[in-house]
């Protein structure tokens, strides 16, 4: 191989250098992060939020506890009260530890009313642990912060519509898809 004329004229090295030279004149792909932002695609599983119902101004949660049951890392705690006359549940407290969350998206997939959502917000680091343990008010605030920057009028999530999944596997309100009006 070393007697090969290609080896003697350094064809292998110059061929490689030619490739790097071609790349030298291409547009760089690097994103200078704090100045430029990468595009976050719809339904990215980012910071958690409780959806604020535009009609009542309260959380949409009906305290069915499906998210508590399905969470693989068991990071959700819900406290609720039952109205003795109607039997309706009211969610009192919703505690979510973002530090334990593994962002699988199971909670937003099983939620029958589309109350909990993983928003496309990805910059939420905290200097202390308490800043990443979300309670009900913080989760609703997360939603307000998210929709303030959301460009469209209607918000929906892929896990609220579940395209291609048989009807029988979806909870009843999700069969037509859930859309939330975020702006007038």
């Amino acid at each position: 191989m070393r007697r090969d004329p290609k080896y003697l004229i350094f064809k292998d090295l110059f061929g490689g250098l030619l490739i790097t030279l071609k790349t030298f004149f291409r547009k760089p792909v690097t994103v200078q992060y704090p100045k430029e932002r990468v595009t976050i695609f719809p339904s990215f599983r980012g910071r958690h939020a409780l959806v604020r119902d535009p009609e009542t101004g309260e959380a949409k949660c009906v305290a069915c506890l499906k998210c508590v049951q399905v969470c693989p890392s068991r990071c959700i705690e819900v406290k609720f009260e039952v109205n003795p006359e109607t039997g309706a549940r009211k969610m009192l407290e919703y505690k979510l530890e973002a530090l334990r969350c593994i962002y699988c998206g199971y909670c937003e997939e099983v939620c029958p009313v589309g109350a909990i959502v993983l928003t496309e917000w990805f910059e939420y680091s905290s200097r202390d642990r308490a800043g990443l343990i979300f309670d009900k008010e913080k989760l609703l605030k997360n939603w307000d912060e998210f929709i303030a920057k959301y460009p469209d009028k209607l918000y929906t999530n892929k896990f609220w519509n579940l395209k291609g999944i048989p009807e029988i596997l979806k909870p009843a309100p999700k069969r037509e898809g859930i859309w939330v009006k975020v702006k007038e």
Binding site: D12, V29, S43, C71, C104, K158, P166
Partner: protein, 409 residues
């Protein structure tokens, strides 16, 4: 007492030899080229390795034990964290195992989508392998180029399911979401681009004299020996044995797509590099066929268990709650989950990724064992590295394509 040991055919040493002065050194677990938290206790003679002992377990998270306390659907996100650079393969492997236990067959569209994302994940994994392997040996440019293309594949995953690494996209009985037509089109347009990029990597490396010097004849293992050590995947195929689960025990849409299994000759580092590059081409071929043949219809089986499947058999009948959930599990006279045990394997990016599942009839696994290829490949490290220089050990660790998340579980 101290006998003369023969580590490799060419190289022997003796502790009684007055000129032999072994030097013990610990490499890792914080070494940049050990690909994670792998620690190696080396015995050196000059710069030659005479003995080697891998120490694993620094990244142990107890996935198998955790799985015993979660229901079948909840275990799936844990499998993302095994081989975290090709998470789709792990998810598919686990989902397939549970499907075989429950007797569910995913619909054709779900099968094709799963095959497509698995092959994309395999390309992403091989790209990361090539990047780090080349960086270890000294080719910085390839590292940057590979990460450029890997970013595109991760963007596809983000568009498909909302996550880039820990995807949790397949589910028991299919996949969790359908893929939009625009994304499929983008993936289809990516295929010719990627072919051109693989040409670029080959142009940089395949004939490069430094690359050839560092890889040819390093870490040679014969086919029989590789089988005896339990090597699978590209590490075995580099030694000339065409064992591929996608061909031998086909699952999902693999029987319906055409592809070849590239096989090396010499079983050295260069051949394993060549096999992986060819595999990337074959994966692109599979992705193309999957998009072309993609059937219409649902992506998930109707009998698939819910994500919040119950742990125990419930007393009430199916009629009581309507046909909303868990038809397979709530009908009277039917078991929640069949009892028994099974082993099911898929071809992961690193090798044969197997799941051994024992079911006791409840909604959670009684025992889940994961046959992680990385763990088994590390056991062959001593055989491959002894007799080589310490600089070649870097190439040998790289060529086995070890991911410690999978090895330590």
């Amino acid at each position: 007492m101290l006998e003369k040991k023969s580590i490799s055919k060419e190289f022997t040493y003796s502790f009684e030899d007055p000129f032999f002065s072994p030097f013990e050194i610990q490499m890792g677990p914080q070494h940049p080229s050990t690909h994670g938290v792998l620690k190696l206790n080396l015995v050196l003679e000059g710069e030659k390795i005479v003995d080697l002992e891998p120490v694993v377990g620094f990244l142990h998270r107890g996935v198998e034990k955790l799985a015993e306390n979660l229901n079948y659907a909840q275990v799936l996100p844990l499998t993302d964290r095994l081989d975290y650079i090709s998470a789709m393969n792990n998810n598919t492997g686990y989902a397939l195992c549970v499907e075989r236990l429950l007797g569910i067959e995913p619909p054709p569209r779900g099968k094709y989508l799963r095959t497509m994302v698995c092959e994309l994940a395999r390309i992403a994994s091989h790209l990361l392998w090539l990047a780090t392997h080349a960086l270890d040996i000294g080719a910085m440019t390839v590292f940057l180029y590979c990460f450029r293309e890997r970013e595109i594949i991760l963007n596809f995953f983000e568009k498909i399911c909302g996550a880039r690494l820990t995807v949790s996209y397949p589910r028991i009985g299919g996949v969790r979401l359908d893929v939009e037509e625009e994304v499929l089109e983008e993936i289809y347009n990516f295929i010719p681009y990627m072919y051109a990029k693989i040409e670029e990597y080959e142009g940089l490396l395949s004939e490069n004299r430094i690359w050839l010097d560092r890889t040819i004849g390093i870490g040679v293992i014969s086919g029989e020996e590789a089988l005896a050590y339990g090597l699978t995947g590209p590490s075995l195929r580099g030694s000339g044995i065409a064992y591929d689960i996608r061909k031998h025990f086909p699952y999902d849409a693999y029987p319906e797509v055409e592809f070849e299994v590239p096989v090396g000759k010499n079983g050295d580092t260069y051949d394993r590099y060549w096999v992986r590059l060819q595999e990337m081409r074959q994966s692109l071929k599979i992705v193309k066929q999957c998009i072309e043949k993609l059937p219409e219809g649902p992506v998930c089986a109707e009998l698939s268990p819910d994500l919040d499947m119950p742990l125990f058999k419930r007393a009430f009948k199916a009629e009581a709650i309507g046909p909303v959930t868990l038809i397979a599990f709530l009908n009277e006279g039917m078991e929640l989950v069949p009892k028994g045990e099974l082993y099911s394997a898929v071809e992961g990016a690193k090798g044969e990724l197997g799941f051994y599942l024992v079911s006791d009839g409840t909604g959670r696994p009684y025992r889940l064992h994961i046959r992680a290829p990385s763990f088994i490949h590390i056991s062959a490290l001593k055989r491959l590295a002894c007799g080589h220089f310490i600089a070649d050990l870097i190439a040998i660790i790289g060529t086995l394509d070890i991911v410690m998340g999978e090895c330590d579980r």
